[in-house]
């Protein structure tokens, strides 16, 4: 078996609310090998997005340990996490989360502004990323001038532009029509197979989960099953 890129060890996550404590993840263990394409399924409120946030260093576990790319990210400070995310993780969201006032190229360039790349290097990287998602002819279009599927492809290009080892996708097809969803899933498959990106995708859609190499189900904070696709 390939070495684990992500390890989740005995992780518990409890949210404190006015109504009391809400346990979301309960002593959860998960291992994602390098090059895997994992679909994370489960009903609403099962803790899928919370788990994705913990793996992406966007949130911290109440207890337990999250290790990614050989680093214990659950022990990092928020500043270290931000730096780590900027170099190693690409994020794809259900609603694309593009900056509406920027063009496609400027949106894709945003993560590169955190690097020391020259303007010319950044432009070259952006062209490559937009080329991979098939939007080389839409560089100057703003999100409002693009379809949902195109916007999601711009978001994928933005996730891809830093050449991350890990891509985390939260319901990437949840807001798309069937054809666009198919295109996006095809693109993610290509990123996994051709560019060897490790992908963890949260989805409700069994059709979407089918493109993954592996599917795990989460229910009430507990991983209930693991199925190889």
């Amino acid at each position: 078996m390939a070495e684990a890129l992500v390890r989740v060890d005995d992780v518990t996550k409890i949210y404190s609310t006015r109504g009391g404590e809400v346990p979301v993840l309960d002593h959860l263990d998960l291992e994602v090998p390098k090059g895997d394409f994992l679909a994370l399924m489960g009903p609403s409120g099962s803790g899928k997005s919370t788990l994705l946030n913990l793996i992406g260093g966007l949130d911290s576990p109440t207890s337990g340990r999250v290790t990614a790319l050989g680093q214990t990210i659950s022990a990092m400070s928020s500043r270290q996490l931000a730096d780590w995310r900027s170099r190693h993780v690409g994020f794809i969201f259900q609603f694309y989360n593009l900056i509406p006032v920027l063009t496609a190229a400027q949106n894709v360039e945003m993560p590169l502004l955190l690097t020391k790349m020259s303007k010319a290097e950044r432009r070259r990287q952006v062209e490559v990323a937009l080329g991979i998602v098939g939007l080389s002819d839409r560089v100057k279009h703003k999100p409002s001038e693009l379809s949902g599927g195109q916007q999601q492809r711009v978001a994928i290009a933005r996730a891809l532009v830093i050449d991350p080892e890990l891509i985390l996708a939260d319901e990437p097809t949840g807001d798309l029509d069937a054809q666009s969803a198919k295109d996006v899933l095809g693109l993610l498959t290509r990123l996994n197979e051709e560019y060897e990106k490790t992908i963890i995708m949260v989805t409700h859609d069994p059709n979407a989960a089918q493109v993954a190499r592996r599917t795990v189900h989460l229910d009430k904070g507990v991983l209930s099953s693991g199925v190889h696709a």
Binding site: G56, D59, S78, R79, N97, L102, Q106, M110, P111, L113
Partner: protein
């Protein structure tokens, strides 16, 4: 520099709101510049005062006269320059054709007055013509422009202190040699005015102007002059020209404080408007801020970007407001007759600083709030 595109795009995100905020800041700073220029107008003459000149007047009040016979005694005081005394009276008349226009009129002795005030530049031929004509007068260029008069024209004044209609011939038009010297002024012949007064009022002057010798101590000379008349029915008060002119300004009460209070109130109000705008802008961008954090933007970078954005709005507003003030306030004459001089450079610099401060302060709260927002909370607000 690499964030310029993002900053510029954010400024254009809601162009109407940005334009309104910039306009509000611009109007506030225009008003600030206007108030400062007005203060400067009220102080006209103070800054250009010559500390080598003294003014001697009646100790009781400026409206009380002094005898013309004091002149040789004043002249004899050690430290007074040769031919270093001149005198004048306030004429106080209205220009009949334009009673709303106020300009000062002094009846002065022509033999030394303009030597003691070399900043009143009159062409020699015009000065000679003035000296030769007892009904002659010299007016400032601004007065001439306002009244549409030229050398050789006559000017009718209705006396408010000395009754009747007085007809004068304009023999000279002066321009001050430096900015700040009062130029909305008319100079007449003292002798002509004096002879026309009732006999009981003749031989009295309103003030003496005294030119000091090189190296003379103004305070000591002033004390010596006043000591001369200590036991006279007409006691004197002698002070430097600057102190004399400042006493006029102080008659307005603490107008500086009042005008600056108004300016501060306006700036504070605009600060609240700008802060509100920035707060709205941040609330609208909660999800975006979450995205930036997800991508790896540090809190300090997000604070910096928002502060620079707010600073840019402040600076653009400042540039527009100050620019308009500099362009519009070029010796603007108000309906009250007060001429507003160009805005002092220091006031423009202060206004620009206030614009920057307004931007920074308005952006500080929202940017700190944005930086404290957790990524997960920000994404929940989509």
């Amino acid at each position: 520099m690499k964030y310029l595109g993002y900053l510029w795009a954010n400024l254009r995100r809601n162009p109407v709101r940005t334009a309104l905020t910039v306009t509000a800041i611009a109007i506030a700073l225009f008003l600030f510049c206007f108030l400062e220029a007005t203060l400067s107008a009220l102080k006209t003459g103070v800054d250009s005062s010559n500390d080598r000149r003294l003014i001697t007047r009646n100790r009781v009040s400026l409206v009380q006269p002094l005898p013309i016979a004091f002149r040789p005694k004043v002249q004899s005081v050690p430290g007074v320059a040769p031919d270093g005394t001149a005198y004048g009276i306030w004429f106080g008349a209205e220009y009949e054709a334009d009673k709303d226009y106020f300009f000062a009129q002094y009846a002065v002795n022509e033999d030394t007055y303009f030597d003691i005030y070399p900043e009143i530049l009159v062409p020699p031929d015009q000065m000679a013509a003035y000296a030769a004509d007892r009904k002659g007068c010299i007016i400032g260029k601004k007065v001439a422009e306002r009244l549409g008069k030229d050398v050789g024209d006559s000017i009718a004044m209705k006396g408010t202190i000395y009754p009747g209609t007085w007809e004068f011939n304009i023999r000279g038009i002066f321009e001050p040699s430096e900015r700040g010297v009062p130029e909305e002024v008319m100079y007449l012949h003292y002798d002509y005015v004096d002879e026309s007064r009732p006999e009981s009022n003749q031989g009295l002057v309103g003030y003496y102007a005294v030119q000091l010798e090189e190296g003379a101590d103004p305070a000591r000379v002033a004390d010596s002059i006043d000591a001369l008349f200590e036991n006279d029915a007409y006691q004197t008060k002698t002070e430097t020209e600057r102190a004399f002119r400042m006493s006029f300004f102080s008659m307005w009460g603490n107008v500086t404080l009042l005008l600056r209070f108004i300016g501060a109130a306006v700036i504070f109000t605009i600060l609240l408007v700008a802060a509100n705008t920035m707060m709205m802008s941040v609330r609208e961008r909660t999800a975006e801020i979450g995205t930036l954090k997800t991508l790896g933007f540090q809190n300090r970078t997000i604070i910096l970007l928002m502060l620079v954005e707010a600073l840019l709005i402040g600076l653009i507003g400042g540039a527009v407001g100050c620019g308009l003030a500099v362009l519009a306030l070029q010796d603007l004459t108000l309906p009250t007759g007060l001429t507003i001089p160009p805005v002092p450079a220091i006031s423009v610099a202060i206004a620009f600083g206030l614009a920057a401060l307004t931007g920074l302060v308005s952006g500080l709260g929202p940017s700190v709030l944005a930086s404290r927002l957790s990524v997960v909370a920000a994404h929940r607000r989509i």
